[in-house]
């Protein structure tokens, strides 16, 4: 761990703030909300431009310089639109769903360090908090599906619940590998312990976590719950105006939050040479987000049975084996150089992906309904 001067650390420790914790709380709440809104606007623009480039299009380039104001124009448009609630909708559930889907995403950012110790709350169970809180968004999505009184909404929401429940398991197992290597659940300690980025120490864990995160936040190719060719728009079919904007915001905010979590867990978070730490975190977040866009561009949407099969027959066994291998490495050779494990784990990841692909089959275990 590189030594950090005491003076720099004092400023960002909450106890040294005037008014004790309250100013700290207020400052970081504002920072988190502003950061997330700006990042979402950037992410929407970035995704549309990057996907356009990969498809030999240009993407939005009309509104403002290089089309930079396009997300803002879209937001203004959608906010000015009429808010239609279906007659058969469960009004309270329909009303609360976007809020409940949106809040957990903000909560994820409370434990992501922008610098050494610079975060709203340095929980010693940071990553557990993220796993627990990020699942709440699913309740919001299911409320939207149920409250809309529409079969397509309900189907989309059911698919989302199925996906999240399944993919939570390989995701948590991949996180456990990281936690074993770094020896802490606190996000700040995880970053501090990464002298080698965890993507090298846990390459399989990164792949598993990335896939599971994509499925969890419904990025394509796992965007089954809003599969527009099958379910019109899935759970937000009956949403319009500002509440639709909330769901749209949630979609990208979740992607950004998961990118930030991945960059914190696997890409050594705010650590990096030359540039300020918060900039490194943003750069890494956008890099991971770019990976998501990249995968989205090339992959067709999977079927629901393929989605479930991938979670239970491919990711889950690999995650368990990865966890065991990491546990053996950590227990048997605690003093060995991490670089040895880098080599071993990359070979292991390659072999396991090969074996897993060889044994992976869908379509077995047919259920007659």
């Amino acid at each position: 761990m590189e030594p950090i001067s005491a003076g720099a650390l004092d400023i960002i420790q909450p106890t040294y703030w005037p008014g004790n914790y309250w100013w700290h709380w207020l400052f970081y709440t504002v920072v988190v909300i502003v950061f997330m809104l700006v990042m979402v606007i950037g992410a929407i623009y970035f995704e549309r431009r990057a996907m356009g480039k990969m498809q030999t299009r240009l993407g939005p380039n009309r509104t403002g310089p290089f089309g930079l104001l396009q997300p803002i124009a879209d937001a203004v448009k959608v906010l000015l639109k009429e808010n239609i609630v279906p007659g058969v909708a469960d009004k309270i559930v329909h009303f609360l769903a976007p809020v409940i889907a949106f809040t957990p995403v903000l909560l994820i950012f409370t434990v992501i360090p922008f610098q050494n110790g610079a975060m709203l709350a340095d929980l010693n169970i940071g990553i557990l908090f993220i796993v627990a809180v990020s699942s709440i968004a699913t309740v919001g999505v299911f409320m939207a599906g149920w409250g809309s009184g529409n079969k397509y909404s309900l189907l989309g929401a059911m698919r989302n619940v199925a996906a999240v429940v399944s993919y939570e398991i390989p995701m948590v197992l991949a996180i456990l590998g990281v936690v074993m290597v770094t020896g802490s659940l606190s996000m700040n300690d995880i970053v501090n312990a990464q002298n080698i980025p965890n993507i090298l120490v846990q390459p399989l864990g990164f792949l598993l976590f990335f896939t599971a995160a994509c499925a969890e936040i419904n990025r394509s190719p796992f965007d089954l719950m809003e599969a527009d060719s099958e379910l019109t728009a899935g759970f937000h079919t009956e949403y319009s105006g500002m509440r639709f904007a909330m769901f749209y915001l949630v979609e990208y905010a979740e992607a950004i939050a998961m990118s930030a979590v991945i960059s914190t867990l696997f890409l050594s978070g705010w650590r990096g040479p030359w540039l300020p730490p918060w900039l490194w975190l943003i750069i890494k977040t956008f890099f991971v987000f770019f990976l998501m866009i990249w995968v989205r561009t090339i992959m067709p949407r999977v079927r629901i049975d393929q989605l479930m099969g991938l979670a239970w027959k491919f990711l889950f066994p690999l995650a368990v084996i990865n966890l065991f291998a990491t546990a053996i490495e950590v227990l048997a050779w605690p003093d060995a150089s991490q670089w040895i494990f880098v080599g071993v784990n990359i070979v292991l990841a390659g072999a396991l992906v090969f074996l897993g692909s060889r044994l992976f089959k869908t379509g077995l275990g047919r259920v007659e309904v």
Binding site: K53, M54, T56, L58, P65, W294, M299, V353, R358
Partner: protein
């Protein structure tokens, strides 16, 4: 053994996608950038030349739709017909070009421009001066190879059209 089934397929797909980032986009920024249409394009709206027209009405007879209406009067001093009304209902015109082929005096051409949509049905009925050649209504090379030679070369999508910076 083929490694495409073991994750290499995804890597190949990713590498193909990233190559396209550095290629130029195959789209035209339409109102600012326009593609030249083919020289051999037949064109749409008729372009009529008042000087060359003798009012023989061959075009009206050739028209399968009967959309050309021509009214002439005799000009006794110059001993020739004077065209009083030349009216084409382009709403019924099928752009077959038979009138252009039929004209014995090369007084009729197909138009080369392609943004000729109208807001009102009545605007489609064009009379006299509305049919003359103008910068907005150039003539096409249909049935006139000498004109076709002078038209700009067709631009293709693969030719580089840079993004317009605002």
């Amino acid at each position: 053994m083929k490694f495409e089934n073991f994750g290499l397929g995804i890597v190949k797909g990713l590498s193909v996608a990233i190559q396209y980032v550095w290629r130029h986009a195959l789209v035209t920024q339409y109102p600012e950038q326009r593609l030249n249409i083919s020289r051999r394009s037949r064109g749409n709206e008729l372009v009529w030349s008042r000087e060359r027209c003798t009012g023989c009405a061959t075009c009206a007879k050739a028209c399968p739709q009967g959309v050309i209406e021509i009214v002439t009067a005799t000009d006794m001093t110059e001993n020739k017909y004077k065209v009083e009304t030349y009216r084409v209902d382009t709403g019924y015109c099928i752009q077959c070009g038979l009138c252009v082929e039929a004209c014995p005096y090369d007084a009729l051409f197909m138009g080369y421009s392609y943004e000729r949509a109208k807001y009102r049905r009545a605007e489609l009925v064009q009379t006299n001066d509305e049919l003359l050649e103008s910068p907005q209504r150039p003539v096409s090379g249909y049935f006139h190879p000498d004109i076709a030679k002078k038209l700009p070369k067709q631009t293709l999508l693969i030719e580089k059209i840079v993004e317009k910076r605002k």
